[in-house]
Symmetry: C2
Subunit: 241 residues, 2 copies
DNA sequence: TTTATATTATGACTGTTAGTTATACGATTT
DNA sequence: AAATCGTATAACTAACAGTCATAATATAAA
């Protein structure tokens, strides 16, 4: 009994060792630039051994992506638990996404890479990753519903659609960092400003314009609610504070 | 003289034949599922011959992506030439993107695939594709500037940032069709409604709230300006008209 | 017309990689 | 001590991007 247990534990530990080794490599190089040979060398096992633990390279990669999604889910859950109006939860979730992109840029890169085709939809991991992302969106949707109920979010919005639009926007803004950072900085913005300003841009689209809009500008802007100071439309004022 | 000309023409024709054959295959299968052998067979040439015309598979793929970008650029230019207020141009550009996604779903898929890493940034085609996309965004930025000048768009918005946010949102909304279509339809929406409703969602974020906001709702909603009728927040009204 | 030259095309090749298989090892059980 | 079972491995296959020496073909020169 104890022996079977130990063997089970050892097996799971081996699996974890493989994931850890693969993660180190996938964090530092792209999917195509990491071969199963490389991973085998990193974890000091034969390549064929890895295939005893993972069906294929895709599944191993997806397992790491799932780790990343899990962390994001936790961040969203924390936002939801805060005692603040619905619209503030929504903005907090956007900011949580931004913070995630700064804390775990490699997970985020892998998540986006996994989302971009080439990975089989039949793989059970794909469904699980989709479910993980879906959970985040559901949390966001609940926050939107709360905002509608407490009067801080436009009552005519559909919570489902709005949660989709916001998730897609968050994802888009933060998946572009590598690609468009230089363009953004060439225009005199830091990426942090770029992300922060997005919340100020989007708030009027969701705000009920009564309680919440005034609240954003007056109460939150000065108390660290937004990531940075607002950007004035004149170029001269764009320098990062 | 005439002979050199003819040979030049013939060479370019061969190149076009290769691109056309590759396009047919890349339209029907994914990047990884189309081999250079396949393309060679399709165009009835030896694989090595293709390498006389294209440096590598990436470059051939990118050449097709450029065709797609060119078409999008033309659509944006058309919107810009319309004699309408700035905010209407902006929404028209979003709709142009939607129409493009319906007319040329395969180009769009290839464009998004090209954008998702794995393709070398050193390849001159990558820069050219980036420039093509950049041109679209500049057109959008000009439309936003016009809207600010004619009072239909919030004067406190930065045209550069706003054009980025909108482009990213358009791209995001329309790159998700394959992935999230089922989720959206499970909620009782058609993808067309999903895209159309986005414009109604985003308009308050850019509208100056004076001339333009009322204009959207009163004048345009009933005259085909939006793609579909507005969606009421109740699930019962979600069926596609 | 014949020969030389340049361009275009090709079959056969290399190197790399994901994934498989037959075999060996080592711990546990009989 | 022998049989059993799970784990590990070396050697393999198949597929593919990209290369190269050689051949075929068209143009130019003799």
């Amino acid at each position: 009994m104890g022996i079977a247990d130990r063997r089970q534990r050892e097996k799971e530990q081996r699996k974890t060792e493989i994931i850890d080794a693969a993660e180190r490599l996938f964090f530092s190089r792209s999917y195509e630039d990491v071969s199963m040979e490389d991973i085998a060398r990193e974890v000091e096992l034969n390549k064929a051994t890895i295939y005893l633990y993972f069906k294929n390279k895709e599944t191993l990669f997806a397992t790491i992506v799932l780790r990343g999604i899990q962390i994001l889910k936790e961040k969203y859950t924390e936002c939801m638990e805060k005692q603040v109006p619905g619209i503030v939860k929504v903005v907090l979730m956007g900011q949580a996404y931004y913070q995630y992109s700064q804390e775990y840029p490699d997970y985020l890169r892998m998540i986006h890479f996994y989302g971009s085709e080439r990975f089989s939809k039949e793989n059970p991991c794909t469904a699980e990753i989709g479910k993980g992302y879906g959970t985040c969106r559901l949390i966001l949707r609940d926050a939107i519903q709360e905002g509608i109920d407490d009067g801080t979010i436009r009552a005519d919005l559909d919570p489902f659609l709005t949660s989709m639009y916001l998730m897609i926007s968050f994802m888009g803004i933060l998946s572009m960092e590598n690609k468009w950072k230089l363009v953004i900085e060439a225009e005199g913005f830091s990426y942090e400003q770029f992300a922060s300003e997005f919340f100020r841009f989007i708030t009027p689209a969701i705000s009920s314009g009564e309680k919440s809009h005034k609240m954003d500008v007056k109460d939150f802007a000065s108390s660290g609610f937004f990531l940075t100071e607002p950007v004035a439309p004149e170029k001269e004022k764009r320098k990062k504070s």
